[in-house]
Subunit: 353 residues, 2 copies
Amino acid sequence: MARVTQQDIAKVMGVSVMTVSNAFNRPDQLSPDLRTRVLERAAKMGYTGPDAVARQLRSGRTNTFAVAFEEKLSYAFSDPFSVAWLAAFSEVMEESRASIMLLSVPAGDHEALAAVQDAAVDGIAGLCGNQPAMIRARERGMPTVYCTLATRADADGKGDYVVIDDHAAALEMAGLLRRLGHRRVFLLVETLYPGQPRMAEYRPEEFRDLVDAHAGSLFSDDLRLSGLVGGLQGLDVTVVPVGTNSRAAGHAAGTLVLDRKDRPTAVVAVSDVMALGFMDALRQRDLVPGVDVSVAGFDGLPEAAEAGLTTIRQPVRDKGRLAAELLLDPERKDRRIILPHELIVRRSTRPVA
Amino acid sequence: MARVTQQDIAKVMGVSVMTVSNAFNRPDQLSPDLRTRVLERAAKMGYTGPDAVARQLRSGRTNTFAVAFEEKLSYAFSDPFSVAWLAAFSEVMEESRASIMLLSVPAGDHEALAAVQDAAVDGIAGLCGNQPAMIRARERGMPTVYCTLATRADADGKGDYVVIDDHAAALEMAGLLRRLGHRRVFLLVETLYPGQPRMAEYRPEEFRDLVDAHAGSLFSDDLRLSGLVGGLQGLDVTVVPVGTNSRAAGHAAGTLVLDRKDRPTAVVAVSDVMALGFMDALRQRDLVPGVDVSVAGFDGLPEAAEAGLTTIRQPVRDKGRLAAELLLDPERKDRRIILPHELIVRRSTRPVA
DNA sequence: CTTGTTCTCTGTAACGATAAAGAACATCAT
DNA sequence: ATGATGTTCTTTATCGTTACAGAGAACAAG
């Protein structure tokens, strides 16, 4: 009941293994008659076609590409940005008839890192470049592409990328708030470092030390945050790590911040998802975004447009598409791509009263 | 600059290849001292650890499982049912440290079928059992699990499954409509067969012939539809294939049906997504679900609860979870699981005026 | 001084396939 | 008849790893 191989067929038919192999892969290398007989015999013997793994070993290619996530995969399917990116990425892969493998390598999960080692893929893409999976993949000498620069330094490191200039974008956002006259601003980020207490509040002087103290850890929003902080210098700025990049976390930040006397006049989240959650909290209190508190996000999701949320639009689909193209075509020249972004001002940001 | 292998290291160090292999996989098989030296030397030579593909070939296992979709992958990420299923499936896989491969094998795309042949996986799961990818996988002798029975006959075929009794569920739904006194009912399905003209209207006598004429084609909602038709016998029933399983298609069906004189008193879609789309069309016309037209769906999505939509709840997450467990544990006994469903009556279905 | 056991390490043979080159024979033009 | 050209099939050599069986030394127990 063992598996039938080309060798078995060859032996039974009294032909060489190569002939059997050619019958399946290179019809021009043997007579149509023999080919038919081989295929028939193979079918009769219960041979189900060339083994994928063996073929991959011999050819040195798997035609499969991995996507690494820092979170559980259920997050990858629920975050709008992630889904849009994945959709664009997969469309290109589908067209090229390449397969996609999903890897989940949560920060700090050392065992999960082995998945990168054991992945039979030709390359790997990830949303963030400094995540452990990406680093490991590069150590393995595997082609990598990532779509967010976490720090300036990343730009000089290894690996290809498709990103936007998050720092410049953040500066523009800060400029907008300045022009609108805001003086007391809260900035919502996911986490400053792994194990970060949620909903703590930091002054700009403090948070930088914290991040540096955990250097090498993952802080993917560093460019956005430091851009905002830099651009808002001189104003009353508070940084709040809300724990996760989710609507719920943004909402929780709202409950934390909105019920006190000294409300901020503006709140910027480093993602639209968080900003939308914060707006949920406003709505609950019958406060109006832009009127009572100005709110802004990053990413440019369709949901942000519906909600009238000021944001930085980034070309998500292009990021996904180009990431796939870079992986598929190792010969391609420009392998470090900086895409344009756009500050989109909507009704959620207004001049301070 | 060729790739470094265990053999290279062995040669350079004057030890056997097995020793190198053992240094990486079975530390107890060699002295700690030698092991350290091997690892150091390996690192120095730029060896990046055992090759995944070679290891898979040797061991006969890939620890990877495929999920096959009949649509483009972007659909898999956008349909709520699909996403929920995938999330549950992936959670189990993550816990077991198995990887997931996504395959897209659209109906009729013969080239894409090759992906199933070339997938280096230990098993494959799919939402529907009679899709080409599943059939091909079973021909390859690969373990399969699917989560929807398309026809009664599927139940006797090969492969494991985790399903609900869609036919019985549909009968219950039909019974509800009967009790509520509905006499003119429209049934929305995705498509009856590939290439099906959209928004055609069929009588129950007709559609069965159509489906049979395209026997062997994919019609995954057959059990639901035939249950509904059977349960509504004697009433004025019309079957409408709306083209795709999407909110937009349900909405389009609404524009088709709602602006005529002889409106149906009730509409049942074989999925919540379509039903929700239909309700969008109602709302646009200031018609009230349940009052002007009764509406019902299938699946039991959270969105359905919010919208007050009567539906058949099915345990999506259990389907995903169990599918993964069946793939992971080939020894497990019960491999054909029928989960309970539940008719949930909400305000979208009321007695006919 | 056996005999047995443990600890390290080695050699060989797969796993299932394909690339590359070659052999045998037929065909064809000169 | 000669060489050139094809067609069809075979031989040999990997791809990078691990399973398995054993060999040699050291050490304890009888």
